[in-house]
């Protein structure tokens, strides 16, 4: 159920104006996204949760932030909201059904209708309308923590249960990865190409990475190495962004005594935080300095409750950051934002790059942009003579 016709989990349609941290991705009202009425219901559920959260925080008057009245914001949204019928007229699906479901979804959001009743009322019609795709596509709306649909109903609708992150990640695995599934089991071989002529050295990638992966002080999966050459006035400067190279022959994997770090099928080098003993041998072995030890420090002085939100790295949601709990005491590094790749999104650094210098794609697909760029005469890898064969290429 919960099935969005024609939408495969790899084509992510929602966008967020906020830093790409999954939990914040639904803060604004998405009810008018033109992709079917059901999404309205889903978003409604989530929006309600978020609103509840923000009132609990009593964040109306934060120091230094202008207090824009909620009513004003609602009016602005209402003003911007297109007419549902106009929108739905562009879609193949039945407009009446869409509007009806959307209105009921709003009732669910207001608490006038239960989630179970909602699906009892609409499931059959929606199934008839959307056909097979309806049953095949999982619905991440059913949130395990705060779900609006009972588990029984969810099961009767053969619906996936879990948080948005887990459901989206799992669905990606179920859909695309053949019999084995699991994180990183994709058919692609992920590669990154960074065009040094386009890099302006703004460090946005580093910031986006820290914000996406919620890395603690002293841990920065991406850095921009700045090299200055020559003497005044003949000076040149090169900025070399350095994520994890996701080497084909990774020295880190070679040295790990417990096989806690390993190559995944999609080429990304994984770290199993539940197995890593924190010996830091990989940290020593990495020729690119791309591995960082998590000493357990926090940004608590800078941000209240900085550790409350963590990133579902490698597709595992570990909840709030706590002392003595992994990844504290483990080695960490760039994962090409595996959790985003699995949702069909680009890594945060690629998405944010102001000069469009960073590119992500499938190196094994000869038609892909990255494969072409990696083949060009401008392409090179860092420390090629190490024999590590990185999957990050640079264009000089």
């Amino acid at each position: 159920m919960g099935c969005l016709p024609g939408e495969t989990p790899n084509q992510t349609v929602w966008v967020s104006p906020f830093p790409p941290v999954s939990t914040y991705s639904y803060v604004y009202d998405l009810q008018d996204q033109p992709a079917g009425a059901e999404r309205t219901a889903r978003r409604r559920d989530d929006r309600r949760r978020v609103v509840a959260m923000s009132t609990a925080d009593d964040g109306d008057t934060l120091p230094g932030i202008p207090n824009v009245g909620k009513a004003d914001l609602d009016a602005m949204v209402e003003n911007e909201r297109p007419d549902p019928r106009d929108e739905l007229a562009d879609v193949e699906a039945d407009t009446d059904l869409g509007v009806e479901m959307a209105e009921d979804a709003q009732r669910v959001a207001r608490g006038e209708l239960s989630g179970d009743e909602y699906w009892e009322k609409h499931d059959e019609a929606a199934a008839a309308e959307f056909g097979e795709a309806y049953r095949e596509t999982p619905n991440p709306a059913v949130d395990a923590g705060d779900q609006t649909v009972s588990t029984e109903t969810a099961e009767s609708l053969s619906c996936a249960v879990g948080s948005m992150d887990t459901v989206s990640t799992e669905s990606a695995q179920v859909e695309g990865d053949g019999p084995e599934g699991g994180i990183g089991a994709g058919d692609q071989k992920w590669g990154m190409v960074i065009d040094l002529q386009k890099c302006v050295g703004c460090d946005s990638c580093t910031v986006a990475c820290k914000s996406e992966n919620r890395t603690p002080p002293g841990v920065s999966y991406n850095v921009v190495m700045e090299e200055e050459h020559g003497e005044f006035p003949n000076v040149t400067r090169t900025n070399v962004p350095r994520p994890c190279m996701q080497c084909d022959n990774p020295p880190c994997v070679q040295v790990c005594p417990v096989s806690a770090t390993y190559k995944m099928d999609d080429g990304v080098v994984n770290i199993d935080y539940d197995r890593c003993i924190g010996c830091r041998y990989c940290n020593i072995a990495c020729p690119y300095g791309a591995r960082y030890f998590d000493f357990g420090e926090n940004y608590d002085d800078e941000v209240d409750e900085a550790g409350e939100i963590t990133s579902p790295e490698y597709g595992v949601d570990r909840g709030p950051r706590e002392e003595g709990k992994s990844p504290i005491g483990n080695i960490r590094k760039c994962s090409f934002c595996t959790h985003r790749l699995e949702r069909g999104e680009e890594p945060a650094c690629v998405e944010t790059c102001v000069g469009d210098a960073r590119n992500m794609g499938d190196l094994e697909n000869p038609d892909s942009d990255v494969a072409k760029m990696a083949d060009s005469s401008r392409a090179f890898q860092l420390k090629e003579d190490e024999g590590t064969d990185p999957n990050v290429y640079y264009l000089k």
Binding site: V223, E227, C256, C276, C286, P287, I328
Partner: protein, 423 residues
């Protein structure tokens, strides 16, 4: 075994009770300091160290390889008695083996406290990685400790049986248990013990050289990212400096324990033999290190050159010149140069202690400088000096080693009851 011929006297432990009290007081202070520092380490996590992601290995790793070296060296000295049957060396057989066991235990304590997740210390026995030197090492250490304990048992069993025979009550049961119930003191049983002692030693030699200490050298040498370590000679030097420190340790222990525990005079011939061994190891160690340095500098590889510049002229260069060159090579060499000094216990204790302390600096100069240079131009340089917590925990773990050794020396027949050589 001090006096009369056939009568076997067993009275281990300090001769002087005041000295005993003073020694235990010192050890207690070390252990107490270590306990408090360990408390800070456990509550503060790895943030209580001065380690960073740029210099992820520090004092604990340096002490770990130091004690592995001490152990391997002491063990190899013991094989001179029980495998190669060098004349007059049986006197120090058990001393060397027992010191090797204790050193290895201390080494593993250092590995343990260095783990980011100390609670997962047993994981390397659940999951492995064939290409990881560290994975192999962990298993080699366990096998090696097994060999050491086996050897110590076969070396000491007959005397444990003799002591059990002469005592009664709880003490008798204690020694009988240590002898694993084999209380036969016949010639045949002794021959059996010697045979198995030799077999275990034969197995232990390659294990100690190639796996335990050579392997620990390999652990560093395979790091291609660190040219300073990445050399074929590196594991060899590791073994030689292990022999150097192990021989020095055995020499110090032999003199001190004979004087302070047995109340006997030191055998000058045995002392001279150990001293000459020490000279040989110092020469080989210095020569191989010189070759290694020359190859590194002749390569003109910027990383190598700069690392050596850090070692020789950097802020920690005092540890290179004073401790590594001075205490582990030059100073002991001077003391060992004269035959009459080599036969003087006090001078040899000084020479031995000098080496034992100097090799600590050798280990620090192996671990730290290679991490000061960034692996890529554009990344930050590292800098490292241990925190008080790191020093305190290290002192504490060394204190635990001293405590275990003293307790053993006070209860076990480490000196053969029938005197020096195998009758």
């Amino acid at each position: 075994m001090a006096t009369q011929s056939s009568h076997i006297e067993f009275d281990p432990g300090f001769e002087d009770d005041r000295l005993r009290a003073a020694w235990y007081a010192v050890v207690a202070v070390l252990v107490a300091v270590g306990a408090y520092a360990t408390y800070l380490r456990l509550t503060g996590g790895m943030a209580s160290t001065n380690l960073t992601s740029i210099v992820p290995w520090g004092a604990w790793v340096a002490f770990y390889i130091y004690f592995v070296g001490l152990s391997a060296g002491a063990f190899l000295v013991s094989t001179m008695a029980n495998v190669f049957e060098v004349e007059g060396m049986h006197r120090i057989d058990r001393d060397a083996l027992f010191a090797a066991v204790i050193s290895m235990a201390v080494a593993l304590l250092f590995v343990w406290i260095d783990l980011g997740r100390m609670d997962r210390m047993y994981f390397p026995f659940l999951w492995r990685q064939l290409t990881s030197a560290l994975s192999w090492e962990v298993h080699a250490y366990v096998a090696y400790i097994g060999i050491l304990v086996t050897e110590l048992y076969f070396s000491m069993r007959i005397d444990l049986a003799r002591v059990a025979d002469r005592t009664s009550g709880l003490r008798k049961r204690f020694y009988a248990a240590l002898a694993l119930g084999r209380l036969d003191t016949s010639e045949a049983s002794q021959a059996f013990d010697r045979r198995w002692l030799k077999r275990a030693g034969v197995l232990g030699i390659p294990l100690a050289i190639f796996m335990v200490h050579g392997g620990t050298g390999v652990l560093f040498a395979v790091s291609k990212a660190r040219p300073y370590w990445n050399s074929g000679l590196f594991p060899v030097i590791f073994v030689i400096s292990a022999l150097l420190s192990g021989t020095a340790l055995v020499m110090v222990i032999y003199v001190l324990r004979t004087r302070l525990f047995d109340g006997e005079s030191v055998d000058p011939d045995l002392l001279d033999r150990l001293a000459q061994l020490l000279i040989g190891f110092i020469v080989i160690d210095a020569a191989l290190t010189a070759i290694e340095t020359f190859i590194a500098i002749a390569s003109v590889h910027p990383h190598e050159i700069e690392t050596w510049q850090v070692i020789m002229y950097g802020p920690m260069s005092w540890s290179f010149w004073w401790f590594m060159i001075g205490f582990s090579w030059v100073f002991p060499m001077v003391l060992l140069s004269k035959k009459s000094w080599r036969r003087t216990p006090a001078v040899m204790v000084l020479a031995g202690l000098s080496v034992v302390v100097g090799i600590v600096a050798v280990r620090f100069n192996i671990v730290v400088p290679a991490q000061v240079m960034p692996v890529m131009e554009g990344l930050p340089h590292g800098s490292y000096f241990p925190t008080l917590v790191e020093w305190g925990t290290s002192v504490g773990m060394i204190g635990v080693g001293l405590l275990l050794y003293t307790l053993g020396a006070e209860t076990l027949p480490l000196t053969p009851l029938t005197g020096g050589d195998h009758e």
